[in-house]
């Protein structure tokens, strides 16, 4: 009895305690001394980064002709008005019916416009828009840097509602700032030939305010590659696949599609999506759903943010050691920046020119290729203990060889003063094919490098006007191999020779000029000197963020130097751990492929 009573009293006391604590907790409106329980807001909405846009204004009756042209220019830059209705209000009815904005856009850097002084009571006027053309954007959104001057003439007439443009150029005229606002650069990831590897298609995509950037990007990915890559790349998606939506759930990006892909292409599709969205939603994982349902009936398809790196090791290769030449043999740079000879004959003997870096293949039994000093022979040695140098290709005047990821060796033979032939030789059966490249037949190819994606190819050509760097794509294989879509990425002049070109990654290449200037060039931007280069650079090698160069000082001592992001520093240590420039020191660095 007594224990029962005590127990009851205890229960009552506990209940009272609970009630009291509840009451006192309710008294303080904002609790102190504990962390708030709220869901992490995350990184906002990564799928749609904020931006500013021009809103088209109605033309005003009191505006001068120049102001009308200015307003028209702004209205052309107004995104989200797909039919350019606001812009057409600046035009006379007649011209508005004729004007075709969809033919593409010209991007220019404006200069002061020239206006003829307007007499009192005039009913017609002319305004010339002047500037420097920097790029053109075609219908497909391909952005191509261009040069040249811009002088577009607009004629205006005065109507009852003020001045209106009665004639002018077709297409859009965008200032650089307008183009920056109206277009977004996105990397679309496609599959290389036979579904191997990833190929980046860089396009400028018009900003659509009615959609998110992620959505328009994926829609653009589903629409297929742009013209320059058509035929050269594949996509994992089934034809007719459409995007329903791209959303974020719990910091995970959910891509909702209408169709599945065949089971063997799921990883390829995952890589394409992860790569394409990696710039937008970096670090987030992805999930693919089909018509709102999980991809697999029993499980959802989760994609790691780094899926594209796993799919294609050349996207972000780790532990790839550079090769270099020293003491007459090919060496590979080890962990402590101390080099060691490669296995086989190549480690002790180098039949190539002392000025031309070797080419190293990327997979299978590794091979090194060297161009002989007279340029007539290319020798290849397997980097295995029993590897021997063998002559693979002979020609009149060959250029430095380049391996692609499919284990074929590329080179160009200058058969005459202004004619070149591109050759491709497969390592597996040692068969050599002539590559169709009509645009290169009549020029002198000075360098040819296949990018690590196996599709892009950079070619340095020399003709009467000077040296240029072109980037094209490889279509087909073996006898059907073809190089097409060559676009200039850098124009040299007579004084500027091109020493070396190397691919940094699938989209960008480094160009070394005769003046030891280092340019970064790509299809979507003007070539720019982004990295200062010390004099005496003879050759370069690059793999993503690693950039190596062979530098020779005034005394003829050489060393391989590396750009660490801020400055160049000597790279190869000798047996004593010294990185000094030495006579016959490390030279001709090379990374596999590229």
């Amino acid at each position: 009895m007594r224990t029962e009573a005590t127990a009851r009293r205890r229960v009552r006391a506990a209940a009272l305690g609970v009630v009291l604590s509840c009451v006192t907790a309710a008294c303080s409106v904002v609790p102190t001394g504990r962390s708030p329980v709220v869901e992490d807001a995350g990184k906002g909405n990564p799928l749609n980064p904020p931006y500013a846009r021009v809103i088209a204004m109605e033309p005003d009756a009191d505006w001068t002709p120049e102001q009308i042209v200015t307003g028209f220019r702004a209205a052309m830059a107004s995104i989200g008005d797909g039919k350019y209705e606001a812009a057409r209000r600046y035009l006379t009815d007649d011209f508005a019916a004729r004007w075709r904005p969809e033919t593409g856009a010209t991007v220019y850097r404006p200069a002061p416009s020239v206006t003829s002084p307007l007499p009192e009571g005039a009913t017609a006027a002319r305004v010339t828009l002047k500037g420097t053309v920097t790029a053109v954007i075609d219908r497909e959104g391909r952005y191509r840097p261009r040069g040249g001057t811009l002088a577009e003439l607009f004629t205006l007439v005065k109507g009852p509602a003020g001045w209106r443009i009665s004639s002018g150029p077709d297409g859009l005229l965008l200032t650089e700032a307008d183009a920056d606002r109206a277009y977004r650069l996105v990397d679309l990831y496609f599959l290389g030939p036979k579904g191997q590897g990833l190929v980046i298609d860089q396009v400028q995509m018009p900003v659509d305010p009615a959609s998110t950037l992620a959505k328009t990007t994926v829609e653009r990915l589903l629409a297929g590659p742009s013209g320059s890559l058509r035929g050269a790349v594949e996509t994992a998606f089934e034809p007719g696949t459409e995007l329903i939506d791209v959303t974020t759930e719990n910091n995970r990006v959910v891509v909702n599609l209408t169709r599945k892909v065949p089971a063997e292409r799921v990883s390829a599709m995952s890589a394409q999506l992860a790569g394409t969205l990696s710039r937008l939603a970096s670090g987030s994982s992805f999930e693919v759903r089909v018509n709102g349902e999980p991809y697999h009936t029993d499980a959802s398809l989760l994609i790691d943010a780094q899926e594209y790196v796993k799919f294609d090791r050349w996207m972000a290769p780790a532990d790839v050691s550079p090769y270099y030449l020293q003491d007459g043999g090919l060496r590979v740079l080890g962990r402590e920046n101390v080099g060691g000879p490669v296995p086989g004959k190549a480690g002790t003997e180098y039949p190539g020119s002392p000025a031309t870096p070797p080419a190293v293949s990327g997979s299978g039994p590794l091979h090194a290729a060297a161009l002989s000093e007279d340029g007539k022979r290319i020798s290849v040695a397997a980097l295995t203990p029993d590897g021997q140098w063998e002559d693979w290709i002979s020609g009149n005047d060959l250029v430095q060889p380049s391996w692609d990821r499919h284990d074929s060796l590329w080179t160009a033979d200058r058969t005459g003063l202004q004619s070149s032939v591109v050759l491709r030789m497969y390592a597996d059966d040692r068969r050599q094919y002539r590559v169709a490249a009509p645009e290169l037949d009549t020029v002198e190819v000075t360098a040819l490098k296949v990018a690590r994606d196996g599709v892009h190819v950079a070619v340095a050509v020399k003709d009467g006007t000077g040296e240029r760097v072109l980037v094209g794509t490889i279509v087909g294989e073996r006898a059907d191999s073809r190089i097409g879509n060559l676009q200039p990425v850098m124009d040299g002049d007579e004084k500027q020779t091109i020493e070396d070109i190397v691919w940094k990654d699938g989209t960008t290449l480094y160009v070394l000029t005769g003046k030891s200037e280092l340019f970064e060039a790509s299809l979507i931007a003007e070539a720019q000197q982004t990295i200062p280069s010390p004099p005496g650079i003879r050759s370069i090698a690059a793999l993503n963020s690693s950039l190596l160069a062979w530098a020779v000082d005034d005394d003829g001592n050489s060393q391989v130097i590396k750009w660490n992001g801020k400055q160049w520093e000597p790279q190869v240590k000798d047996d004593n751990g010294s990185v000094a420039y030495v006579q016959d020191g490390p030279a001709l660095p090379a990374f596999p492929l590229g």
């Binding site: 906002g44 909405n45 749609n48 980064p49 904020p50 931006y51 500013a52 846009r53 021009v54 809103i55 088209a56 204004m57 033309p59 005003d60 505006w63 120049e66 102001q67 009308i68 200015t70 307003g71 220019r73 702004a74 209205a75 989200g80 850097r109 404006p110 200069a111 002061p112 416009s113 200032t175 650089e176 700032a177 606002r181 305010p209 009615a210 959609s211 998110t212």
Partner: protein, 579 residues
């Protein structure tokens, strides 16, 4: 033609049926409501608590809504102020650098390639983050092309009236409006607030025109929050109301159940179960009520017992006296008969006395018989000898018996009998006696006018009404006529020698049949007595086939338009006239 008519009729009938049923249901509901104290208390508690909760909820909701929106708008205004300063600094900086150039900003914009206003908008877009926080629209009407927005806000989100107010206000003054915000990627507008102002450019005279800056803050999250709050308030409020109703129900139940028990006990007590008692539990008010009730019941039982005993003694006394009187009376009667038979031998005085004695002795005898009969009823010894008979025959027999007396009073009978037999289970001897009594009574008080005897029948009951056109009854006398030895006018002598017990016995007879015997009368209108009997012995009588008030009287009253108060039922047995 016939079918639609028929259908119309059926439709009308259906409608009428529905209406009738609805009315009946409403009536039942009303009855239940007014009979159940618990239901009434719960209902009124619910009504009051609903009103209180609704008023409180609306007030609370308004307060919360106001404070939430106010704080959001205030935060937005301070954000807008900070943004404005940023815009001003961006706008003035490059201008200062390019101050030697032409002040025509249209040209200036082209020279630099990107207008400072667009740079400012871009900066604001980055500050605002993704569109969910806020959007900005900046414009300068004087400068062509200087009209920018962030991300996907549509310019129509700034209505003309807001612009008009902004342009009318002095520079730097805010104008805020709640407006629907339109976004390019959403089909439906989002509720939001727009805070517009003209940039105060007094410190930067180089700036041309009015820079209008609009901050558009979506309030969809607030709306969602307030909506869920409202929902919660409604749920909590309804829960509270139900809880209060449950509490009220529980509390009233605690009070009502003992009261109900007490009522049931009282009903049983009233039905004659005098040993009915309540359970007394605890010491509260209800327990004391139960105790008092029990005490009252005990006292009542005691008193009733005493009265019953007394009444028993009296009845026994009357019965004994009647029995005891019979023996000497028989002797006296025999002696009187002798005297009466030999009256012709007496001198007239004595002969007349003998006649008188004979008459009074007969009356005495019948009175004694009636007394004995009524004491049988009092003792509960009366039994029915039930048989199925035609009421018309009984009536005719009773009329035949009364024929002689009627002739003496020059009264005629007007019989209104139905054509078909009116069979009913009854003790015909007793019913005949009732009718005889009624007819004698009518002859006695009919003042020689016609007596109407009506027989009526329906499915469940038969009825006989005897109507005279004599002096009638005064109000309140309808019940008293059935009392023993009651006389309408005490000064009036009994002319046909009634014992004063006839109607009382008739009433007892009718009750023994489970029927009613009721009287109606009005001064100058005569009176009517109605006997209603169930067709089946032992069945409960629900109504009578004949009206208690003669139809011609009723009609006359209606014509006069003065409705008399409803007549109270004449019988004390609870029977009521429901036809």
């Amino acid at each position: 033609m016939a079918t639609p008519k028929k259908r119309r009729r059926t439709l009308r009938q259906v409608a009428r049926g529905v209406r009738r049923r609805a009315r009946r249901a409403a009536g039942r509901l009303r009855r239940v409501f007014w009979r159940s104290l618990q239901l009434r208390v719960v209902t009124s508690t619910m009504v009051i608590s609903i009103v209180v909760v609704a008023v409180l909820g609306v007030f609370l909701m308004q307060q919360i809504q106001q404070s939430v929106l106010e704080s959001r708008v205030r935060a937005a205004i301070s954000e807008a102020q900070a943004d404005r300063n940023a815009v001003l600094s961006i706008l003035t900086q490059p201008e200062r650098e390019a101050s030697e150039q032409s002040a025509d900003s249209g040209e200036a914009a082209q020279r630099t390639g990107d207008s400072p206003l667009s740079q400012a908008t871009e900066a604001l877009a980055q500050r605002a983050g993704s569109a969910s926080r806020y959007s900005v629209i900046i414009r300068n009407e004087r400068l062509p092309g200087e009209f920018f927005g962030t991300t996907n806000i549509e310019p129509k989100s700034v209505p003309d009236r807001v612009r008009a107010e902004v342009l009318k206000n002095e520079a730097g003054k805010n104008a805020s409006w709640f407006v629907p915000l339109h976004y390019a990627d959403r089909a439906e507008p989002v509720p939001g607030v727009v805070i517009g102002t003209r940039l105060d450019t007094t410190g930067a005279p180089q700036l041309v025109g009015d820079y209008e800056i609009y901050h558009l803050v979506p309030l969809d999250r607030e709306e969602k929050m307030l909506a869920s709050l409202q929902q919660m308030l409604i749920v909590v409020g309804s829960g509270l109301v139900l809880l209060l109703a449950a509490i009220a129900s529980l509390v009233t139940r605690q009070v009502v159940i003992p009261v109900r028990l007490a009522r049931q006990a009282a009903e049983r007590l009233a039905a004659g179960k005098l040993d009915e008692r309540l359970k007394v539990r605890g010491e509260d008010d209800l327990a004391r009520l139960a105790a008092s009730f029990n005490e009252m019941a005990a006292n009542l039982a005691l008193k009733i017992h005493q009265l019953e005993e007394l009444s028993q003694v009296q009845r026994q006394f009357v019965s004994d006296v009647s029995h005891e009187l019979r023996t000497p009376l028989t002797t006296v009667r025999m002696a009187a008969d002798l005297l009466y038979d030999a009256r012709e031998d007496f001198d007239p005085m004595v002969a007349r006395s003998a006649e008188l004695m004979q008459n009074q002795l007969e009356r005495f005898e019948s009175m004694l018989a009636d007394l004995l009969e009524i004491s049988r009823y009092d003792a509960g010894a009366a039994t029915l000898d039930v048989d199925s008979v035609d009421v018309r025959d009984v009536v005719l027999r009773a009329v035949a018996d009364s024929e002689a007396l009627a002739e003496r009073h020059s009264t005629r009978f007007d019989l209104r009998l139905p054509g078909e037999p009116c069979m009913a289970e009854m003790d015909s001897r007793r019913v005949e006696r009732i009718l005889r009594n009624l007819l004698f009574n009518a002859i006695e008080h009919g003042e020689g006018k016609d007596i109407v005897v009506t027989v009526g029948a329906d499915r469940d009951a038969v009825a006989v009404a005897v109507r005279d056109h004599g002096v009638g009854l005064k109000p309140g006398e309808e019940n008293m006529v059935f009392d023993r030895f009651w006389r309408a006018d005490p000064s009036r002598a009994r002319t046909i020698g009634g014992t004063g017990l006839g109607l009382a016995i008739s009433r007892e007879d009718a009750m023994l049949h489970g029927g009613w015997l009721q009287a109606w009368g009005a001064p100058g209108e005569g009176s009517q007595f109605r006997l209603s009997l169930p067709r089946t012995a032992g069945a409960e009588l629900r109504g009578s086939p004949l009206p208690l008030v003669p139809p011609e009287v009723e009609m006359r009253r209606t014509w006069r338009g003065q409705m008399t108060p409803v007549l109270s039922p004449a019988s004390a047995d609870g029977g009521s006239d429901e036809d």
